[in-house]
């Protein structure tokens, strides 16, 4: 068993990055995720593992530093919160277009605009549909506990390198700010250039040997036919992610008549709402998507056969609910899919969720 600590989600993220052998972090401070870089600066991992930590002059600079370092095959990351991620979106599109692995963490706050510093999930669509331009996707992981803030750093890098694609951890201010018991991972060595080539081929700009042509890392391709070919390759990769990487947790879904669908902090609230509803005699389960892209639509399609309806619970005006509806529709089944959410930095309470279930689904059925 690893080391047990009481830590904030943001602090754990920094610690996990050091321990998983991350080569570099480039960031710019913004509430509610400033503790990520604060922790890294305090830990001074450049003395310990050689990991670079750099505060850039802006989010735009930070993501382009990530782009450059990722091109050399390094395990690199950045983190920010909603407004900062908007600034980074251009760079993320370039990284996806150049097919490079990296990790971007979004500890979401309420928007639009500067909005509020309180937790929100209103960047769901930006994360899963592509916040930047062009047809690209990120692998999006949604932690719902401080422990998962630890576990998903390594997983996000693993998937990023497997698919040569940017990964995102989509957390929110609550997960970032709260402290829980966490079992930290063991240390992993940073990869050498040779290991990078061995693991993922020689696409990276690690220096050209005479044995091969030079590697070119770019998202630019002015020949439209070739650009379409690139796009076809990207799409094939995204379909492969959809086939192989759908992750979720199903809580008390076996005998459930109704299903909450919720991720991150909302999923924690819904877990309590399941307890309350079951005490009242309503059989409810919780389906918690862990990957938001690829969205766990297969399991939702399967659950749709046996349940009477779904309630998507989000800290937004209703974004993931569209994907839940699509998943039910794709399964060829007609079931009500309702939505309940709070906005602007408000976290719904378990009581509100149960009330929403009663009003939006149970009332009509009984």
């Amino acid at each position: 068993m690893g080391e047990l600590r009481l830590m904030k989600g943001n602090e754990v993220l920094a610690e996990a990055a050091i321990r998983c052998g991350c080569d570099g972090y480039f960031g710019y401070p913004i509430t509610p995720q400033s503790e990520v870089m604060e922790t890294l600066m305090e830990r001074q991992p450049w003395n310990e593992t050689g990991m670079v930590v750099l505060q850039a002059e802006s989010e735009v600079a930070a993501i382009n530093m990530v782009y450059g370092a990722a091109g050399s095959g390094k395990k690199v990351m950045t983190s920010s919160s909603s407004p900062g991620i908007s600034l980074m979106s251009e760079g993320i599109s370039y990284i996806a277009g150049a097919e490079l692995p990296c990790l971007v963490v979004n500890v979401q706050r309420g928007g639009p605009g500067l909005g509020t510093i309180q937790p929100s999930q209103a960047d769901y669509s930006q994360a899963v549909k592509g916040g930047g331009h062009g047809d690209y996707k990120m692998i999006v992981l949604a932690p719902s506990s401080v422990q998962e803030m630890n576990d998903f750093v390594d997983l996000a890098f693993e998937l990023a390198f497997k698919y040569r694609n940017p990964s995102m951890i989509l957390a929110d201010g609550a997960i970032g700010q709260m402290m829980e018991k966490v079992e930290l991972s063991d240390y992993k060595e940073r990869w050498s250039d040779e290991e990078v080539i061995e693991k993922s081929g020689s696409w990276a700009t690690t220096g050209k040997p005479s044995s091969r042509e030079r590697n070119v890392v770019t998202s630019l391709e002015l020949d439209s036919l070739k650009m379409e070919e690139n796009n076809n390759r990207f799409q094939e990769k995204y379909r492969r992610m959809e086939a192989e990487e759908q992750r979720y947790e199903a809580i008390q879904c076996d005998d459930a008549e109704y299903i909450f669908v919720a991720f991150g902090t909302s999923a924690r609230v819904c877990q309590k709402a399941v307890e309350i509803a079951r005490e009242k005699g309503v059989k409810v389960g919780l389906l918690r998507p862990i990957t938001l892209f690829p969205f766990p639509k297969t399991i939702i399609g399967e659950l749709a056969k046996d349940v009477k309806g779904f309630l998507s619970v989000e800290m937004s005006a209703g974004q993931m609910v569209e994907d839940v509806k699509q998943a039910v529709f794709d399964a060829g089944i007609i079931r009500p899919v309702a939505f309940f959410g709070r906005m602007g930095g408000i976290i719904p309470t378990p009581g509100e969720v149960v009330e929403a279930l009663e009003q939006k689904l149970l009332k009509e059925k009984r």
Partner: protein, 189 residues
């Protein structure tokens, strides 16, 4: 018996509300419990209101955000106005009367009073106020063993402050001694 204690600690920033919660949470870990510490965070500074939800449980913890609590520890009037009504029927409210102009009126909860501010000043160090309150909480709700609280203090305080641990333990002891029962209610089974 499976234990879950859901509590809110609320008062002014600077009273040690967040650190008291942190020590409770660390003590919980020392006793092999699951813990969640969820603070109000925002632009508030010293003198503004601060609160933290602490959950200690034998089971995996669900929501860090709650609409009702087993225990509310209330240290100023604003928090009393906000959280007296959020205590579960049969639950517990512990408060320091310093600065409270409208004492709690609920009849369906256990109410305890702790003159923590006064006791801390008498001990010569107003900063141990939060530990006096923690002591009185652990007296009325002995959910954690005192040995583990001591370990929790060791874990949550940086080493350079470890010399202050005896003073903190003394404050906890003091809180246990001076907590007053205002009313208790029968717990419905």
């Amino acid at each position: 018996m499976i234990m879950t204690e859901e509590m809110i600690i609320a008062g002014f920033g600077g009273q040690g509300v967040l650190s008291m919660g942190k020590i409770l949470a660390y003590s919980g870990i020392m006793e092999d419990k699951e813990v969640t510490w969820f603070p109000s965070y925002g632009p508030e500074m010293r003198g503004g209101t601060a609160n933290v939800t602490v959950i200690v449980s034998d089971n995996r913890i669900s929501s860090p955000v709650l609409h009702e609590f087993d225990t509310a520890i209330i240290l100023n009037q604003q928090s009393m106005d906000k959280f007296e009504k959020a205590v579960k029927p049969g639950g517990t409210l512990l408060y320091d009367p310093n600065g409270i102009v409208k004492p709690p009126v609920r009849k369906d909860i256990n109410i305890y009073r702790i003159e923590g501010t006064k006791a801390a000043i008498e001990m010569g160090n107003p900063k141990v106020f939060n530990m006096v309150v923690l002591g009185s909480f652990l007296k009325v709700k002995p959910i954690l063993k005192l040995d583990n609280v001591e370990k929790g203090l060791e874990k949550s305080l940086p080493e350079r402050y470890h010399k202050l641990i005896p003073l903190n333990l003394e404050a906890i002891q003091k809180g246990q001694e001076i907590v007053e029962t205002v009313q208790t209610v029968e717990v419905e089974v």
